[in-house]
Amino acid sequence: MTTAGQDRLDPALRAEALVSLLVERGLIDQATMDNFIKTYETSVGPMNGAKVVARAWTDPGYRDRLLADGTAAIAELGFKGPQGEHIVVLENTPSVHNVVVCTLCSCYPWPVLGLPPSWYKDPAYRSRMVREPRAVLAEFGLELGDDVAIRVFDSSSEVRYMVLPMRPAGTEGMGEDQLAALVTRDAMVGVAEAAAP
């Protein structure tokens, strides 16, 4: 447990103190650290997952591989890295809607979705999605009929989940790039459906 006195110090000062001591002692490399920050700020995000979904919508063989071994199929498109070692893809259907939560902390498939949004890490989302998923989804604007079963997946230390949303109607003639633009982060967490064209 952190000391109470330490907790009262400005977190910016504490973070700087921590980093400066780690760097001075050669425990971390400043450039490596800066590179991690920059990568997740600028180049890893839901656009990766959107490409995966668009490929799955247009290539049945890829879809099958994605559902059989998410990590391997995602790596086919070049997406891999921390928190992506064991990704399981959950396919939505007209009768089953999947949604993802991490009840204990914030486990999330970084290589395809980037870092989680603040609501995903919020205590209310983490506790309520398990207890009353239909109500929470409605608050996100997703009203599901009683004939749709909702499955809530709690990320564990090993598995990171990603939802494969249903392909929207009216997209038959669209290519992968156009389709990817319809795939939002929220759809891949399961709190929304893919956008209509």
Binding site: P11, A12, E16, A17, V19, M33, D122
Partner: protein, 122 residues
């Protein structure tokens, strides 16, 4: 925490839309202040260097979050990276990399420097 220290940092002044825009949460940046990015990057760099085990960090984070939630049932004042930073402090101290006392002493020293926070390290 206001995050006001980050406004001069070019990384926080990027385009808000278009293909070059950084990943956002409905307009919210991944890190709302530079210190959040540092706490995040330090945990990854320590893992990358083999100084800590990611699962140990995750468990420390779960512990910090659980303790905070038990102490704040109404949820007010929640800050995810506050918990992240506390977990990392706890783990580096427990692992013998940097003691809690050293962290505190350094932070207090930095507090006396003129430019406030989020300046370069001494």
């Amino acid at each position: 925490m206001t995050g006001s220290g980050g406004h001069a940092d070019p990384a926080y002044l990027l385009d808000t839309s278009g293909p070059a825009a950084p990943p956002r949460d409905n307009g919210e940046l991944v890190f709302t202040a530079p210190w959040e990015g540092r706490a995040f990057g330090a945990a990854l760099a320590l893992t990358d260097a083999g100084r800590i085990d990611w699962e140990d960090f995750r468990q420390a984070l779960i512990g910090e979050i659980g303790e905070w939630e038990a102490a704040h049932p109404a949820g007010g004042g929640w800050g995810y990276y506050d918990r992240w930073l506390a977990a990392l402090e706890r783990l580096v101290s427990k692992s013998g990399l940097v003691s809690a006392e050293e962290l505190k002493r350094r932070a207090l020293l930095l507090a006396t420097l003129p430019s406030g926070h989020d300046h370069e390290r001494p």
